[in-house]
């Protein structure tokens, strides 16, 4: 027996319903993966080219011209290691933000737990991420850098990264339905967030007294963590990661709860 009536206030995530619709989630992810590079010449090659292109630009501008320090690493390797998680993060939040608008047809015609729509691109982006990671192996071989033992911590970093992207994506996607400005704003926000993250510069530039506060930005710990796990030149930034994982969890929960609270009006304002 189901009751349809006006609900107010905050609502739980209703995991039972999400389990019932897990197949839908799976097929939405499959759709996002399959459709992304359909009818392109390079196909999945774009997953490699996008961070690679960023690496070339950053190496010339920041590595050569501006001489930004890179913790003693070759600048291309330094920036590419950061660009792999960053490209994932940026793509995921932008795709997630636009997902509800793109799926407005679905939302106004069928009922299903809406949360699967913005979550699908967050998960689908992991394929690109994996491909870009494999290119990293080639680069490491070229520069003669061997992975360190802290490689095993990568899954934790990935988890923090995905949680953060999901939280931001959920929040922005539902906001974008009502205020389409968000679609444009997210482009700038992503740009800003990239320079705020230690992508083109090392976190060691942050004065020690601000380091923990900086760690509140989950991508700071994630990106520094990637450098540590893969290149091993710096120690695993556990301080940043500890603060970052708490704030990632908060971002995700707030995003998800805000989504649940607002989703009831989706079909009406689309």
């Amino acid at each position: 027996m189901t009751v349809r009536e006006r609900r107010r206030g905050w609502r739980s995530l209703d995991l039972g319903e999400l389990v019932a619709y897990r197949d839908l989630f799976f097929f939405l992810v499959v759709r996002d993966v399959k459709v992304l590079y359909k009818q392109t010449v390079l196909g999945l090659g774009w997953a490699i080219l996008r961070p690679l292109f960023g690496m070339v630009v950053f190496s010339v501008v920041f590595g050569r011209l501006a001489k930004v320090p890179s913790d003693g690493l070759p600048y291309p390797l330094f920036s590419y290691t950061a660009l792999v998680p960053w490209t994932y993060f940026q793509t995921a939040i932008i795709a997630s933000t636009n997902s509800l608008i793109a799926g407005s047809q679905l939302i106004s015609k069928v009922y299903f737990p809406r949360i699967v729509v913005p979550m699908a691109p967050v998960v689908a982006g992991l394929l690109d991420f994996a491909i870009a990671m494999s290119v990293l192996a080639v680069l490491m071989f070229y520069y003669g850098v061997a992975p360190t033992a802290s490689f095993v911590f990568l899954p934790i970093l990935v988890l923090i990264m995905v949680l953060t992207a999901a939280g931001v994506g959920l929040w922005l996607s539902v906001l974008a339905i009502q205020y389409r400005d968000v679609r444009f704003a997210v482009q700038f926000v992503a740009q800003f967030l990239m320079y705020a993250a230690p992508v083109v510069w090392p976190a060691s530039l942050i004065p020690p007294e601000y380091r923990l506060a900086y760690g509140l930005y989950p991508m700071a710990g994630v990106i520094e963590g990637f450098r540590s796990a893969i290149l091993g030149e710096t120690a695993m930034p556990w301080d940043l990661l500890a603060v970052g994982s708490v704030s990632a969890l908060v971002v995700f929960l707030v995003g998800a709860l805000y989504f649940r609270r607002t989703e009831r009006i989706l079909a009406d304002v689309i």
């Binding site: 189901t2 197949d23 097929f27 009922y111």
Partner: protein, 435 residues
Amino acid sequence: MTDIAIKVEDVSKLYRLGLQEQMHESLGGAVVSFLRSPLRNFRRLRSLSTFTADDSDAADVIWALRDLSLEVDQGEVLGIIGSNGAGKTTLLKILAGITEPSHGRAVVNGRIASLLEVGTGFHSDLTGRENVYLNGTILGMTKREIDARFDEIVAFSGVERFLDTPVKRYSSGMRVRLAFAVAAHLEPEILLIDEVLSVGDAEFQRKCMGKMGEVAGAGRTVLFVSHSMNAVKTLCTRACWLKAGRVQSVGVPLDVVAEYLEEAIRPETTREWKAESTADDDQMIRLTGTRVRPRGEQRILMGEPYGLEFTFVKTTDLPFGLDLTFHLVDEMGTLVFVGSTVLDRESWRVGEGTFTATVEVPENLMNEGVYSVARVLFLKDKGSVLCEQRDVLRFEVVNPGEGRLGWIGGKKEGVVRPRFLWRLDHTGPTPLEAG
């Protein structure tokens, strides 16, 4: 309680229109308005999702449903009819859980599936096979259920050969067939269907109707929105006529359909509109009333001219060029003609005040039948639309008796019935028969 599938109790649904564009009287006004627009836009967008108690009577709020109560028994096939905007789709959306009622509640007993559109979520870059799974899971099936019925679905659709072709290479008919095949293999206890059988070719429609009958026969509960009175009469066990968000009548399909049809062609020769709220009113022209002349006549005799009156209020002294356009349609919705000052004369230039525009329609123009003024538009400087009103008047043109042809099986003999001038000339002698 167990044999009731759906119980709707005093359900209301408010929608806010709120996204109308505004007109500006001057460049300066437009600039000021542009600078102030972010704040106004924010309020407006925000208001889309917020209602306060006294909002219910505001001008930009419409009641899609108003205190609607309805019970549907298990195994019943309920046909829902009504004119556009009566709230049929809104009712289905509330039952399906797509949108929430503003007031009241609906209780649904059993697994529910809705089919408000054929092929929701179809992605043109994916193959037929992939779309079957995507569409199926969107409609609420699990992968396992689709696996089990996959062959059946494909056979029903008749597109076996193209299963691994992207759907964008399909003809629109093939697309619809595949989409409907998926929907037809949903097995919910309660099925909500919105006007989806009107797509596809005749043969496919027959197939769909067959499937509908099958579903109904299997003891499942079906709510079926349709504009096809025949479908409602043949498939449904009960019919419900919605009018302006309320239940107008419920009962035996034949009776309800007859009642509905009778009203649909009832003349409406005088209409008046209340003044809307004046606060922040940028509207320069408002239609306040329309009439068919001679006043009070519901029937127009074919051989006599008649007039249409449009009374409007102009709230500004700006002397722009004002034009009026109206569309006249027959009972099938076919456009008979467009009458417009743009075509017939120069624009009016008047100050503020209340005005009545009268247009004389010549005699012997239209054949007998029911005609409606479907749209009235006021134009500024032959360009932008200042005001639009739909479904304005309805009146009947009758043949006073003489001169009926009556040899096309009682059907209407064309939309227009001009009086022609005939002449018979003697143009030669009888030809001599050859041989």
